[in-house]
């Protein structure tokens, strides 16, 4: 068992927000999904106060060793999530982390307060980093601003509060320290890198014009950012970015993470989370002190 902010988790591997829809997956794969649930905690897609339809298609572009998405955070809004999704997500065999986003501290506070009331929700992740939505700069990109936002949200909940940092910043270590100073119980990183693809006519391919790069292409950026943040914070870290194997997960743990999240690899292998957790366990069994 891994202790993560007081949650007792079976193993180190969870999902990245927005990269696994447990409700749709249960429809596609049946009950076997719950028997072999790949993650030790489930992170919801990002929820916003109001419902969002998301960006117009096309929303995907494949790159060398990765992909760009401009999904645009479609979701049913807070009320729709609590009413329709939460009862189904509560049936999952693992703790639920709800990821929320707002463009102001007030919105985020309202979201956090609503989640705080629901016992089905074990922890809250603040997405201060999504590069897909046109709010100008990410609110998490400037350390002082980030600390103010987190400090504003903090009183709204006693549940563990994870701040998902943006990688599109000059100094991610300073952002990590700011999140901790603002009262975060944990930080998670990295979110996608801002990227763009043009079609053969030179027009933006993606309906949202720009999108976020994920997958193996960003793996070593993730290792660098996790190591940089780990050097400056004492709270636990959820590391992610391009993890495909237990060896990749181990890299992030060794760089300073307590948990590892799998995103894009689940698209290639729906059960990747479980496989990676198993590979990690095998590595641990084969080595006296694998995390040294």
């Amino acid at each position: 068992m891994i202790d993560f902010c007081g949650l007792q988790l079976e193993h180190e591997v969870i999902n990245g927000s927005g990269t696994f829809d447990a409700i749709a997956a249960r429809r596609a794969f049946g009950a076997e999904l719950l028997d072999r649930f790949p993650f030790s905690a489930f992170v919801s897609k990002t929820i916003t106060l109001k419902p969002r339809a998301g960006n117009p298609p096309p929303r995907l572009w494949e790159t060398a060793g990765g992909m760009i998405n401009s999904i645009g955070l479609p979701n049913k809004g807070l009320a729709g999530y609590l009413e329709h999704d939460l009862p189904q997500l509560a049936e999952l065999p693992v703790p639920l982390i709800t990821n929320v986003m707002g463009s102001t501290a007030e919105e985020l506070t309202e979201l956090a307060a609503a989640c705080d009331e629901r016992p089905e929700i074990a922890a809250i992740e603040l997405n201060v980093s999504c590069p897909n939505v046109a709010t100008g700069l990410d609110i998490g990109a400037v350390p002082a601003e980030l600390e103010r936002v987190v400090a504003g949200v903090r009183p709204a909940t006693t549940k563990p509060l994870i701040v998902k940092l943006t990688p599109n910043t000059a100094d991610v270590a300073a952002c990590g320290r700011a999140a901790e100073a603002g009262g975060a119980d944990a930080v998670s990183l990295i979110n996608t890198l801002r990227a763009m693809a043009l079609d053969s006519d030179g027009e933006p391919w993606l309906g949202g014009r720009t999108g976020g790069l994920s997958g193996p292409a960003i793996r070593n950026v993730a290792v660098a950012q996790v190591a940089a943040v780990a050097a400056g914070v004492t709270v636990p870290i959820v590391g992610m970015g391009g993890v495909q194997t237990g060896a990749h997960a181990l890299d992030l743990l060794r760089a300073g993470a307590t948990l590892v999240a799998v995103g894009t690899e689940s698209f290639r292998d729906p059960a990747a989370g479980g496989r990676i957790a198993r590979e990690l366990r095998e590595k641990a069994a084969n080595s006296a002190n694998p995390f040294a």
Partner: protein
């Protein structure tokens, strides 16, 4: 069945420019016509044009019998290119069957397929009794794939260049009176959009760029008539024409 599984290629056949690959899938659930699978070669997936492919690719099941699945491939990029290179003994990652296939109807079915889009219609024809089948191709070379329709009467064929069958668009073969008919169509977006605009009962099997195929990424959406978007992979790939706002060009 949760997760992907490695399956072995047992046969490879060509139909003009197309390749049909059969794989042995003894343990997978039987697919319904119109459902699809996410496929990736176990070896050498990557290293093609633009260092791709990276993600798996979506393919309709062409035919399924006795633990054996057939897929029809058209070479349009690094993914299909690699899959068409597969040969006996090679291994394929396979996730599926996925999505919502064709829905049964009491109306008289007419099946209309364009190019590689005939795949899910072949699967459907296999379950019907001598349905009417209309197929459009670029030219006689591509039209060799019409031989895949083995159930019932010969399909009617059109080609863009007149080198086989009727010279023109496959939609020109539709009867003027469509009352009592339900259309089942798959093919290029322009063809599907033309059928949607007919305003008659029709089921359209859409294509869309997909990353996951099981509802995880929200990448494959298509706009709905009522506003908003549906995921082609879990809400489709087969949609009632009336549900759709349009059939997007890509």
């Amino acid at each position: 069945m949760f997760g992907r599984r490695a399956c072995t290629v047992v046969e490879r056949t060509t139909y003009g420019p197309y390749v049909v690959v059969d794989v042995h899938d003894p343990d997978g659930p039987a697919p319904a016509p119109g459902q699809f699978y996410m496929l990736a070669a176990v070896e050498r997936w990557g290293g093609g044009d633009g260092e791709r492919p990276f993600l798996p690719r979506a393919f309709s099941v062409l035919r399924a019998r006795e633990g054996r699945l057939s897929f029809l491939f058209d070479d349009v990029g690094p993914g299909t290119n690699r899959l068409m290179d597969l040969d006996r003994e090679d291994e394929l990652w396979l996730t599926g069957p996925l999505g919502e296939g064709w829905r049964p109807t009491d109306r008289r079915p007419i099946l209309i397929g364009g190019g590689v889009g005939i795949a899910p219609l072949v699967a459907l024809a296999d379950t019907l009794d001598a349905p009417e089948v209309l197929l459009g191709f670029r030219d006689a070379h591509h039209a060799q794939a019409a031989a895949l329709v083995t159930q019932g009467s010969d399909p009617s064929v059109t080609t863009d260049d007149g080198s086989a069958g009727h010279h023109g668009l496959v939609t020109e073969l539709l009867p003027d009176d469509l009352s009592g008919v339900e259309l089942f169509a798959c093919g290029p977006p322009a063809m599907l959009e033309a059928i949607r605009r007919l305003g008659v009962p029709a089921q359209l099997a859409l294509e869309s760029g997909m990353a996951c195929g099981f509802g995880a990424c929200f990448g494959c959406v298509t706009p709905l008539a009522e506003g908003g978007y549906a995921r082609v992979c879990v809400d489709g790939p087969v949609f009632a024409a009336a549900e759709l706002a349009e059939v997007p060009a890509h």
